[in-house]
Structures are given as C-alpha cells and as structure tokens.
Symmetry: C2
Subunit: 141 residues, 2 copies
DNA sequence: ATTCGTGCAAACCGTTTGCAAGGGA
DNA sequence: TCCCTTGCAAACGGTTTGCACGAAT
C-alpha cells in the first residue's frame, strides 16, 4: 500500500490527516496483524510524545470507520489488520503469529456452497476462515 | 449432552467432580457460547457462595484440558463453548449472539481443497469458519 | 468561532494471583 | 496424610474516560 493510499482512505472517511494517525497507520503496515501493544511500542519509538490514549483512540476510530479491522484471537489479545478486503488468516497454534492467506478459489468454493444450501434463519453477509496450524521452515526475525 | 456425559469428561481429564465444576458446566450448557460474565451471573444465581476467581479458574482448567474451547470474538470478549468437535459458528453482525453451525459437507469441501492445494510453509491442523450475518425471523428471549 | 484531535492522568473492569483453609482419596 | 480445590481479597494490566489545551477549517 502506497503512502498516498492510506492517506486517501483516512481523508475519505472524513478524518483529518494528522502525524499521529500517520504514525499509527504506518505501524499497522509495518507489522503483521499487530497487537495494540506492538503498535504503541512501534509508534512511540519514533514519536515518544504520542499518548497511549491517543493511539487507542485512533485505532478505535479506524475500526469504526472501516479503515482497518479487528482480528479475532483466542487468547483475548486484540490484533488489528489494515486489510479490509475479504481474506483468510493462518494462525500459528500458539497464536504468536498470524499471516494473511488469499485463496480466491477457496473463497468462491465456500461462497457457492453457502449460496446453494441456504442456512435457515440466517443471512450470511461475510465470512472468515481461520486456518490453525504451524509455520514450517524459514523463520526470520 | 447428558449429565453423566460431562461428568465423565471431567473425570477422564483427571479432575475431581465438584459442585463448582458441575455448576460451571451446567451454565455452559444452558447458555449459547456464554461470556465469563454470563457464566458467573448464572452460577451465582444458584450458588452465591462460589467465588469469581474459582469460576475463572475452572474455565481455564477446562480449556487447558480441552473439555471446552474458547470462542473468538472481535470485541475482545471471551466466550466459551462446551462443544469441542469441529463445527462452525454463525455470528450476528453485532456479536450479541453466536450459534453453532454444523455442515459436514462444507467441512469436507474445505478439507479437500486444503489437501489438494497445499499452502506453502504452513501445515494446517484445524480450521474454523466464521459466518457473519443476521439472524432473521423467530427471536425469543 | 467552532469543531476536531491530542496529551495526560485517573479510573475502570475483567482477569489473575497468592495464600490459607477445607475436603476427598 | 497428602494433594487437589476453593474462597477471598489484593494486585494487575490493558483499555477507556474526562478534561483542558492546541490546531485546523
């Protein structure tokens, strides 16, 4: 995502472009599905004067305006994802790591199935697949 | 689930059957994917003397021993599920409600797809599908 | 001038922890 | 007796809130 892209996204949501929001967004883009804690650490490394409350505030605003999304994890640690388009997630069993997983064929497969066999009393608007497992091989960082 | 079933489950996990554990388990079975708060409220209605810490303790133990599972939600409220077999979930968009959704055909569809088109550097051990949408029609309570 | 956004710090609240007492096996 | 389990209460930690100041329109 180019810098101008997310700035546009913020502006289109009716928000002002501020150094704080830029810093938060860049922390989101630099990390993979970061926790709030990670974002705070990341932001404050370069901008020690940005308040924690402000960062939470910005994250809330972004989520509310669909600029980013919350990611579900089992251990009640909130994570954030700057990608709002439909995609799936790979979860390391210990949930130390989450990666994006794009698979249009699979998405279509599920979509078709859901369309065919209607679920009674429930109207599906979106779906997310969580693949839980282990990352194998190369592991930097 | 019959009473004896979960008692057996608890015993087989190497735990003693205690009134506290029975109360927690029955609260789990009486409610659909309850939050800890809901469970506490439910348990204390009949057993006002059971401590909150004990309830959290029991829930943790149950999860650790795979007697129940944690359910992911986006708003960082932990929910619990006494069903440990593979199944999917229907999420109300506002996450006020979660229902179980069994669909073996869909499960198999996904399983087959995953088997066929291997994901590089990742070994899938389990998966969960979250269907987000709206419950329509009948709605008591 | 008015609205929006930020910094700061206190408050909040769900959850965890430590410890002493109770109760089965 | 020994170990598991509970009750209690204090502590913890991530998140939220209130408010006054500052910046943008």
């Amino acid at each position: 995502m180019k810098t101008s892209d997310y700035k546009k996204k913020i502006k289109e949501a009716g928000l002002r472009i501020t150094p704080q929001r830029i810093a938060v967004m860049e922390a989101l883009l630099r990390n993979s599905h970061p926790t709030a804690e990670k974002i705070i650490e990341n932001v404050q490394k370069e901008h020690p004067n940005i308040a924690i409350g402000t960062i939470y505030n910005i994250l809330d605003t972004f989520v509310r305006l669909n600029i980013i999304t919350r990611v579900n994890t089992e251990n009640s640690v909130t994570r954030f994802d700057p990608v709002t388009e439909r995609h799936h997630h790979l979860y390391a069993v210990d949930i130390k790591e989450i990666e994006d997983y794009y698979d249009d064929k699979l998405t279509k497969l599920i979509l078709d199935h859901l369309k065919k066999c209607n679920i009674p009393d429930f109207k599906v608007k979106d779906f997310k697949l969580q693949l839980i497992g282990e990352f194998i091989g190369k592991k930097e960082k």
